[in-house]
């Protein structure tokens, strides 16, 4: 207030405020997602650590694996498995992080009483729950995809160095590796399976997280177990188990198969086939219902 230019009386406060009076929902969602990344750093630390450990192991094992390799053909055979393994390991890490994240997302804020602080801000329960479900359905898949691609690229570079040392033609090696093809398939798999097909699983975990009075992990995994047990003893059937297996196995095994041309795998036909799977839409409907319930529940929930 020392500068003469600052002699603004009380009145302009209203107009200044008026200018910012409405913050778009997208902005509130964006900052809420960033908040999740501040709180749960394992979302990016865990996949990065998995990638780093894998790369380290690959680096150590590389000379050993390459010992008998004299042709490019052999090199491809030797290197194919580690590439898939790297992607599987990083995606698996992301999947596990997603499970633990979802179970804690709406439970942790009640346990540490910070829900009272978050509820004192103009952010609706809907935006809060949406920001939390974005993590396993969008952020983690894209993040694990990016980390997996970079990891595979680094593996490719490392093996190229070894091949160069043996005087093999690295250019042909790269041409045959079809790196782009692999990445595209990985992206297709991650988006369809982790982003869409698994949505009801994360919806269930978030609902439990919003509801559980304590021990969300137990509440998430015990009921399915009980349902399976009751169905088995009373009806001697396993429909529930089959349903879970169907959900966990993914829409169709062929989409995860590494061989075949890009066009074949993500052709309009495959995508159309995926989009016309009733299981996808049933799953998404269930996910929406579970998330809606979580939004309603959060309104009633206070600290525990």
């Amino acid at each position: 207030m020392n500068t003469p230019s600052n002699v603004m009386p009380e009145t302009p406060r209203e107009s200044q405020i008026g200018a910012r009076a409405i913050i778009p929902a997208s902005q509130r969602l964006y900052w809420s997602i960033r908040r999740e990344l501040w709180e749960y750093r394992s979302i990016y630390v865990a996949p990065l650590a998995a990638a780093a450990i894998f790369l380290f192991g690959f680096l150590i094992a590389l000379p050993h694996h390459m010992r008998g390799v004299t042709t490019l053909e052999q090199a491809h055979q030797v290197l194919d498995t580690p590439y898939e393994l790297a992607a599987a390991l990083i995606m698996g890490t992301g999947f596990i992080v997603g499970i633990f994240y979802s179970l804690d997302a709406l439970y942790g804020e009640r346990r540490d009483r910070s829900i009272l602080f978050w509820k004192s801000l103009p952010v609706s329960d809907l935006i809060t729950v949406l920001s939390k479900v974005t993590i396993p359905l969008v952020i983690l898949p894209l993040l694990t995809f990016a980390i997996a691609v970079v990891t595979q690229f680094l593996m490719l570079l490392l093996s190229s160095v070894v091949l160069l040392g043996r005087g093999l033609d690295v250019g042909t090696f790269w041409a045959h590796m079809s790196f782009f093809h692999m990445s595209l398939m990985l992206l297709y798999h991650i988006l369809t399976v982790h982003g869409l097909w698994y949505a009801p699983l994360y919806g269930w975990l978030l609902l439990v997280s919003a509801w559980a009075p304590r021990a969300p992990f137990m509440w998430a995994f015990l009921p399915p177990f009980v349902v399976w047990g009751v169905e088995k003893t009373v009806f001697n059937t396993s429909y529930f188990l089959a349903m879970l297996q169907y959900r966990l196995a993914g829409p169709e095994p062929s989409s995860t198969a590494p061989h075949g041309s890009v066009m074949e795998i993500i052709s309009a036909l495959t995508l159309a086939q995926f989009l016309s799977t009733p299981g996808l839409w049933i799953g998404l409907a269930i996910a929406s219902a579970l998330l809606f319930a979580a939004v309603r529940l959060r309104r009633y929930r206070g600290p525990i």
């Binding site: 405020i17 509130r28 960033r34 501040w38 804020e109 009272l116 103009p122 009633y300």
Partner: protein
């Protein structure tokens, strides 16, 4: 439009009635102290006002229904329900970033200038701050929000006297401008007594007394009665009688009988009762067995 308007506000937990028909009207620019014993329903009432709990009856806060419009209401309302609710993992700078991102009325520069007066560094995490510093941080955040209503539920619980004093000092000097409304509950009544413009005593889910401070000053009187006048003073119907340093202190409600004040001043030393003494007199009469004929405070 009144800032808070409640009619027949009720809330039951199982068979216990936490709020048993509260009627309330808080005008803009008031600083209201909500005072009551443990379990009286203070927190439930405040939670209903800020949209944390569903209720029966009518309640409008700034013209909105808090339970169904919490997020819109929170643009104009701030609350601190406890000192320890800031998440422990968050950095001070992150709280500022987040509030700028989601709160249309948050003024970052203002918050930073409040924080500059404390020893809190923006690079610190909440978990690294002492309890008093967390309260300072929370208050700095809240004071940087241009809200119409601030609700404080035991905001200084567990803080030492220096932090408590600072808390209310900065609230009054740097925040309150005569237009905002503040509702506060605390057990340390004597610390906020001179801050308040209005007082509500609440007991067992009901309002026992609803009074402005001016009204309290003109209506209630405490007399340290000389022993020889004791019988005459008692005949005037005190709300409460207690002993202090061998003298009888009698507390009178002079509603509709201000002329009695002159009679009383002849009987001993007259003074204004403290809120705490008045509280004990009003609530003590309600919860205990018959302690005199006093009935007049509830309205």
């Amino acid at each position: 439009m009144a800032c808070i308007e409640a009619r027949g506000l009720r809330k039951a937990f199982g068979t216990t009635l936490a709020l048993d028909g509260i009627d309330l009207q808080v005008e803009e620019g008031r600083i209201l102290g909500l005072i009551g014993p443990n379990g009286a329903g203070k927190t439930t009432a405040l939670n209903a006002i800020v949209g944390l709990t569903p209720y029966q009856g009518e309640l409008r806060v700034l013209g909105r229904d808090p339970w169904n419009e919490r997020d819109q209401l929170m643009r104009d309302v701030c609350f601190i329900t406890d000192v320890a609710v800031l998440p422990r993992w968050i950095k001070v700078s992150q709280t500022l970033d987040y509030l700028v991102g989601v709160h249309p009325r948050f003024d970052r520069a203002k918050a930073e200038s409040f924080l500059g007066k404390t020893s809190i560094r923006t690079s610190s995490k909440v978990r690294e701050l002492s309890k008093g510093m967390v309260a300072q941080l929370h208050l700095a955040l809240v004071m940087a929000i241009d809200a119409k209503l601030l609700v404080l539920d035991e905001p200084t619980l567990g803080l030492d006297i220096i932090y408590r004093k600072q808390f209310y000092d900065s609230l009054l000097n740097d925040y309150f401008d005569g237009k905002r409304t503040i509702v506060v509950t605390t057990h340390q009544v004597e610390e906020i007594e001179n801050v308040l413009t209005d007082v509500i005593f609440i007991n067992r889910g009901r309002i026992a007394l609803n009074c402005s401070m001016e009204e309290i000053e003109s209506r209630y009187l405490e007399v340290a009665v000389r022993p020889e006048q004791l019988a005459a003073a008692r005949a005037l119907g005190p709300m409460q009688e207690r002993q202090m340093f061998g003298r009888s202190i009698l507390l009178f409600d002079l509603a509709n009988r201000l002329q009695v004040a002159e009679q009383l001043s002849a009987m001993g030393d007259v003074r204004k009762p403290s809120i705490a003494d008045l509280f004990v007199a009003v609530i003590g009469n309600q919860s205990g067995a018959a302690q005199g004929p006093y009935q007049g405070a509830a309205r």
